[in-house]
């Protein structure tokens, strides 16, 4: 008896098969057909939208006893599933149409604006406080004027645009706790400048816009004892009309449209070096990719140095930052002869020692309030 006859016998398939037998055959054949499609179609090594590499057949480790093979095979099947992006988009579309206020850890505001959901449990308050204490120590030990600019998350600033009652971390309590630690630094409170201004944050990304950065720049000037005027901030230009940021990646659906990416007009004379190489302040090639926020300095670098030969005041500023500072940097590029920007997530250095060694006249901390070094 051959295999087909045996299956036919098991299922008691007569010459004319009935619907139940078809059902069994389809139930077995359908997943195998998907499996065949995954094997046959060329592997997709990168998910542009997710900004990560995908697991391909060639990446599978053959380590069965430590579970590497099992984990890789599962990831490979999911990552290489046919029409994966389309299915995700369709699923997101269904959730959007059902009026879901939170998709994939992202709040969907009434006007389609996306917000990162940051609950109390997502914020490591102790770590934030420890970092603030470290900055205070640096300010005390080096005696260098230190300015701290904590950026409120979009969901804090634009509470009115969020789904009503959507929980977020307690900004006021966190800001107060950090301010208490920073006795020897100037803490710039951005809440008044940024709260309730939708144009200051991207609708599809967690960062502030150039307009938001410019508003913060006004506060920065005021904290330095100057009179802020509109003329002092550089002109804002649109560099892309179709920016879909990190939050869109979590809610990838055509119903949520792209938006303009804004930057500041700066003179071409600035010299920017990062990781031992000269780079551009603006990376125009990033505009051709999904991750357009990398337009600013080509993304994050451990240590970046900006020298502006047009500024003759000889002042040096050291910035300890996260990616919010990337779009802020062009704004202050005209105020210092030299700016050293340190991203402590990529550069493991003693920040206080670096400030002394480089002769910094000022230290600035520019980061989203919940992010720590």
């Amino acid at each position: 008896m051959n295999i087909f006859d045996r299956i036919k016998n098991t299922l008691k398939i007569p010459d004319k098969i009935n619907s139940r037998q078809i059902c069994v055959v389809v139930f077995v054949a359908f997943p195998l057909a998907i499996l065949a499609a995954i094997i046959i179609k060329p592997d997709n090594p990168v998910s542009v939208n997710e900004n990560r590499t995908l697991k391909t057949g060639g990446d599978i480790r053959w380590e069965i006893f430590d579970g590497g093979f099992q984990e890789d095979l599962e990831n490979c099947l999911s990552d290489q599933f046919p029409l994966r992006d389309n299915l995700k988009s369709a699923e997101t579309g269904i959730r959007l149409r059902l009026g879901s206020g939170c998709i994939g850890g992202t709040y969907v505001g009434s006007d389609g604006r996306l917000f990162q959901r940051l609950l109390e449990s997502d914020v490591d308050v102790d770590k934030c406080v420890r970092y603030a204490a470290k900055i205070n120590r640096i300010a005390e030990q080096t005696g260098i004027e230190t300015y701290v600019m904590y950026v409120p998350s979009a969901g804090i600033s634009l509470r009115e645009s969020m789904p009503y009652g959507a929980p977020m971390y307690d900004y006021d309590a966190l800001f107060s706790a950090l301010k208490r630690e920073l006795k020897s630094a100037h803490v710039i409170d951005l809440s008044e400048a940024l709260f309730g201004r939708p144009e200051y944050y991207y609708a599809t990304d967690h960062h502030w816009t150039a307009a938001g950065a410019a508003a913060a720049y006004h506060e920065w000037i005021a904290a330095h004892g100057d009179e802020p005027t509109d003329e002092k901030a550089p002109e804002i230009i649109t560099v892309s009309s179709n920016f879909r940021g990190t939050l869109w990646s979590r809610v990838p659906n055509a119903a949520i449209r792209g938006e303009p990416l804004w930057a500041f007009r700066v003179n071409d004379d600035v010299i920017v070096e990062a990781d031992g190489m000269e780079i551009s302040l603006y990376d125009y090639s990033a505009l051709q990719t999904k991750d357009k926020y990398n337009f600013f300095e080509g993304g994050n670098h451990g240590i970046l140095t900006l020298t502006n030969p047009n500024v003759k005041n000889g002042r040096t500023l050291m910035i300890l930052k996260d990616s919010f500072a990337n779009s802020f940097l062009p704004c202050i590029a005209g105020d210092y002869s030299k700016i050293i920007m340190v991203d402590e997530r990529y550069a493991f250095i003693d920040a206080g020692q670096l400030a002394v060694d480089t002769g910094a006249d000022e230290i600035a901390v520019i980061r989203e309030i919940i992010s720590v070094g």
Partner: protein, 468 residues
Amino acid sequence: MVFSSAVFLLIFLPVVLLLYYAVPERVRNPLLLAASLIFYAWGEPVYILIMLFSTVFDYCNGLMLERLDQKGKPELRGWVLALSLTGNLGMLGFFKYTDFLISSVNAITGQEFDLIGIALPIGISFYTFQTLSYTIDVYRREIPVQHNIVSFGMYVCMFPQLIAGPIVKYRDIARQIDRRTLGADPICAGIFRFTLGLGKKVLLANSFGAIWDEISLQRGNASVTAIIGAAAYMLQIYFDFSGYSDMAIGIGKMLGFDFLENFNYPYESKSVTEFWRRWHISLGSWFREYLYIPLGGNRRGLPRQMLNLFIVWGLTGLWHGAGWNFVIWGLYFFLLLAAEKLFLLDLLRKAPAVVGHIYTLLSVLISWVIFACDDIGKAWEYILSMFGANGFADASSAYYLRENLLIILAGGILSVSFVRRYAARKINSLQSESLRFGIKTAVGAGLYLFSLLMVIESSYNPFLYFRF
């Protein structure tokens, strides 16, 4: 390996079924054993040795019991049973409870003994109870001894119920182990049951789990928010566990087995006693047959019955997990069940049915909070917040209500038998057999496709550079 994974749905299950239907009948048991070992080893390559030891150990115990009868030394049979109990429970105790014991001793005495830190072998609580049921039944001469180690191994290791039950007693499937009938009709019924379970797990339980995870992590919840969280957990645990049982029963049918039901709409019970007759039936019946009744059940007077209940429910709690919250959870049910046996059940019978329903749901709701929180203090705090310790409602209550009310209502409706009975009546009233089948197939196919989509979707994980 878990059922709701791409490897299981796209490779393991279809390949095993294809081979199973294609090989001659005598090869099916070895095939099923091999497949089950791969299924288990997928997640636990090393711990498979423990399961194999358990299998061989009780296989030998069964043979020894038979041999002692044949040799006319039945008085020694008790020693074999004692050996089996010591071996099985000793292994379960070592792997599951050693660290719990050490940390409890440390907490009480202030000592700092090192924990041994071994991971719990998956499914050990289930297969240990299965092998014990075999040895005890052989000891009681209620079932014949299984001489074929492959057949016995297949019973212990069978992948459908290996990880999350139901606890299949050997005698319930003894006949099917050696001879099963297959056909498109039962296989189709199994497929439908499997897709129902998959949908329960992936579409419902996971959604409810996300709600509970979010709310339970927050402190100071208003009453409405806390109740939404607890209700979500109550539905998650039901759909998760009964979904797994549905999938196990469904795969069993596809392979020619008839496993007993494990859930019977427990949330429509009118008392906690009734709830435990409908929830995790296979565990309840195991404890009743192999512990409560041997202890004397209700035949030795009320004080002894209360003591027996106390022992059974303390151990039932401990079976669910190595933590004090599980012990308290079990003893909480002991108190309720004892109260019901003493007077409450009579009162409930006289009261309108709705009183029994509300009492049962509220009691069970609170029990799940104790179950879910491994920190007793946190459980207490959460229960207090359900009763208004932080106010009745706030803005986030409105948010959680708006976001989750529909799915919680849908879950509540689907967790009672009304919808199934209504749908069954409507479908069965249709004249056309093919239409009846077509509707069920469409429902099953829809559930399968959506569940598969959600399994794939869960891997969709945007890498946000700013966090790194």
